[in-house]
């Protein structure tokens, strides 16, 4: 396997109507597999959230990360994703989330650190065009002078890499802190006393509507890497719905690391 370049692939876009959180988790697993098996071209999927969620990383302790009572009180679904990294607090409209599914050849020979930055070089370009100077802060953050903008996570599965990113658009930091138990230890090297200040909303920095930022990001990807409009196949959606029901809404999976 030799390294491939972005332009060696025929990228396809999936951007559908809002979907439930567990279905998003399942789609990441299904589409990573489909690209790895050569059943679909490398794909950029932009997420629309059908409801509020806390998404915890593959290796995070459910109990340590989430205040279950607060989540229930606010009607927030708790789901575990297939990739590592930290918990995210999601309300429809408060974040911008996407996934890239690519053959492993795209990051062949790269260190983890290089691969994260490589997969999001287009993101930094898109943000710069919106007037935000942002950079990659290893291991997996995109940050700016005004604070952290986004977190990324990767997972390797059967010949493909999943790279997904959530950017903070307009986070309700107070509610987020009620629901997430953010460890004192985690903040120890961030140089700030306030967890609320760690996530800097994209809205305040651009003044743009969320949809306008998404539109601009898609255009940047299209210009830089090439991107054709695509759609979920019916069989992919069916597989994902089964997986959402049997795995991603099950306590066995969500509490796999209790």
């Amino acid at each position: 396997m030799t390294r491939t370049l972005w332009r060696d692939h025929a990228w396809q876009l999936i951007h559908t109507e809002p979907q439930p959180p567990a279905l998003h988790m399942a789609l990441d697993e299904v589409l990573t597999h489909e690209v790895g098996a050569g059943h679909r071209p490398p794909t950029l999927r932009v997420w629309e959230w059908g409801g509020p969620a806390v998404v915890i990383g593959r290796f995070q302790s459910l109990r340590n990360e989430v205040d279950a009572d607060a989540a229930q009180r606010h009607g927030i679904e708790v789901v575990r994703r297939v990739s590592g990294g930290g918990a995210m607090f999601i309300e429809p409209g408060n974040t911008i989330t996407w996934s890239i599914y690519a053959p492993l050849s795209l990051i062949k020979g790269m260190s983890f650190q290089e691969a994260y930055a490589w997969m999001d070089a287009w993101t930094l370009e898109a943000l710069a065009e919106l007037g935000i100077e942002a950079w990659y802060q290893p291991l997996n953050d995109i940050t700016s002078a005004g604070g952290k903008i986004a977190g990324a996570a990767q997972a390797h599965r059967g010949g493909a890499v999943l790279h997904h990113v959530t950017m903070a658009y307009d986070i309700d930091a107070t509610k987020m802190l009620e629901v997430l138990r953010i460890g004192r230890e985690k903040l120890s090297d961030k140089g700030t006393q306030s967890a609320a200040k760690r996530v800097d909303p994209l809205r305040s920095q651009t003044g743009l509507a969320r949809a306008a930022i998404i539109e601009h990001m898609i255009a940047t990807f299209r210009h830089r890497h090439g991107l054709a409009d695509g759609a979920l196949r019916a069989d992919e959606l069916t597989q994902a719905k089964v997986l959402a029901r049997e795995k991603f809404t099950s306590h066995v999976w969500t509490a796999d690391v209790p």
Binding site: S61, G84, G85, G86, A155, K186
Partner: protein, 96 residues
């Protein structure tokens, strides 16, 4: 018992465990690190299970390393950092 360690330049590693007759039991490692393949987490927990409560960081890290299959990739976490989190869980008073 509960220990946390933020690996310098890495991610948060959390260890929850019990001590039974001077040995580690019900060890659960968690955190916002990255690990491939993901089931390697269970091998890490298993490597720590039953270790002596007196085991030093070197012994604990070696036990974890020995249990990991070839090809396991870690990002933001290491056997040494896991060992620190375990010691912090056992000796909460000595954590800086």
């Amino acid at each position: 018992m509960h220990g946390e360690y933020k690996m310098p330049g890495g991610k948060l590693i959390v260890v929850d465990l019990e001590l039974v007759d001077g040995h580690l039991a019900q060890v659960r490692v968690s955190g916002d690190f990255f690990l491939e393949p993901d089931h390697a987490l269970h091998a890490i927990d298993a490597a720590l299970e039953g270790q002596s409560a007196d085991a030093d960081e070197h012994v604990l890290a070696s036990a974890v390393r020995a249990r990991l299959a070839p090809g396991v990739m870690m990002y933001g976490i290491s056997p040494e950092a896991i060992a620190v989190a375990v010691r912090r869980a056992i000796d909460p008073d000595t954590a800086p």
